[in-house]
């Protein structure tokens, strides 16, 4: 049933965020430490285990893949509800500080060295059904390589 997949996802999120809060308390900082990341690891392990045991029929899986597919629309809604006006009010110091930080961070990425694998493997099922990913692969092929 679809709700089993949604419930599994919800359960991973609740446990992960709770663990992130506890971790923050243990470190004595007023912040959630990696709650979403912990939830993702839980879903990878539990989802992988159940799917190996053939305990995840397609209908259950669709409860997770639906939210996976809603990800980009949710990000668009998130962008539309950002406090962009406040950022622009912050003026030049805020803009320069973030420009320098982002520029330096981008420049550091190649220093970590490129991995031998150029593309994420195409059979990765995470967004395989998503028409967006197919489109992005297609468009990256059609781009001229510089």
């Amino acid at each position: 049933m679809v709700i089993y997949g949604v419930a599994l996802l919800a359960g991973c999120m609740l446990v992960g965020l709770w663990a992130g809060d506890v971790l923050g308390m243990l470190l004595d900082i007023d912040s959630n430490v990696g709650g979403v990341g912990i939830a993702m690891l839980l879903l990878i392990f539990i989802g992988g285990y159940l799917s190996d045991k053939k305990k995840l029929p397609a209908s259950t899986e669709s409860g997770i893949t639906f939210w996976n597919g809603m990800y980009i629309p949710i990000v668009v809604a998130m962008a539309a509800s950002q406090n962009v006006a406040a950022a622009i009010d912050g003026g030049l110091i805020a803009l320069f500080a973030s420009l320098v930080a982002v520029g330096a961070s981008f420049a550091l990425i190649p220093l970590f060295g490129r991995s031998s694998k150029k593309k994420p493997s195409s059979e990765a099922p995470s967004t395989a059904q998503d028409p967006l990913s197919a489109r992005s692969v297609a468009s990256s092929h059609s781009r001229p390589t510089r």
Partner: protein, 253 residues
């Protein structure tokens, strides 16, 4: 007639947001196809449109939630708020193989520490260049440049004024907006096309919303890897900024 339609839209705000975002994405994909021949990804255009609308909404209402402050579009705040955003980010992890995460694990941790320190130093340097000399102010702006959540946490911990905290939040907001816009443009030039570099990218940038939107507009397959490391960044920043980094700033200035 029209009034009752508006009332319904306000009442069913989340549903109205689904319809609105769906329509905006449809138009964005048409623009992507016809005007840029797919060179600029449709979701990148949709995110830019979202940011512009957020600016318009913020200026029109003076609120803090962009377009969502206009009551007709209140559902955007719920749809794009932390709860559903985190649920959707976690859902992207389904089907990821743990092996890929373990292989990049160490680089991800190094990237996290480096990311917090580089952004902090950049913020401190720019604040210094603009004439600030007080260690508390420098630290707060540096912390805000890491993410807009770390700025207020550090500022409150070391006693910064509310204007400086607001400035630090603005720096963090700019950072997340810049990451959203620049990632799809720069991705190919920095080798951001595999899970490993996505994890390093997430660790270096740290802004979960920026990383999430930037990768979505680059290649949705990379989202779970970047988001995974980025969610540890704010915690690490909140740990380092008011303690080690503040002491370092005080020792230097």
């Amino acid at each position: 007639m029209l009034e009752s339609l508006l009332t319904q839209l306000e009442k069913q705000h989340l549903i109205a947001a689904f319809a609105l975002v769906g329509g905006a994405m449809y138009l964005s994909y048409i623009v992507s196809d016809k005007l840029t021949r797919g060179r600029v990804h449709g979701s990148a255009i949709a995110i830019m449109v979202g940011l512009i609308l957020a600016y318009v909404g913020g200026v029109a209402t003076g609120g803090t939630k962009g377009l969502a402050d206009i009551s007709l579009f209140a559902g955007l705040g719920l749809m794009g708020g932390g709860m559903l955003r985190d649920l959707a980010i976690i859902a992207t992890a389904y089907g990821v193989r743990f092996q890929e995460i373990r292989e990049a694990g160490m680089s991800g941790v190094v990237a996290l520490f480096l990311g917090v320190i580089v952004s902090f130093v950049a913020g401190v340097a720019v604040a210094y260049a603009f004439g600030y000399r007080d260690p508390v102010t420098l630290t707060t702006i540096g912390a805000g440049t890491a993410t807009y959540i770390v700025g207020p946490i550090a500022g409150a911990a070391i006693g910064a004024s509310s204007e400086i905290i607001a400035l630090s939040i603005a720096a963090g907001l700019f950072k997340s907006i810049l990451v959203m816009i620049m990632t799809p443009m720069l991705a190919r030039h920095i080798g951001l096309d595999n899970p490993r570099s996505a994890m390093i990218f997430g660790g270096l940038m740290g802004t979960t919303s920026g990383v999430a939107a930037g990768l979505a507009a680059t290649d949705p397959k990379l989202v779970p890897y970047g988001a995974m490391t980025a969610t540890f960044y704010t915690g690490l920043g909140a740990l380092l900024a008011p303690s080690v980094l503040y002491l370092a700033v005080r020792a230097i200035f």
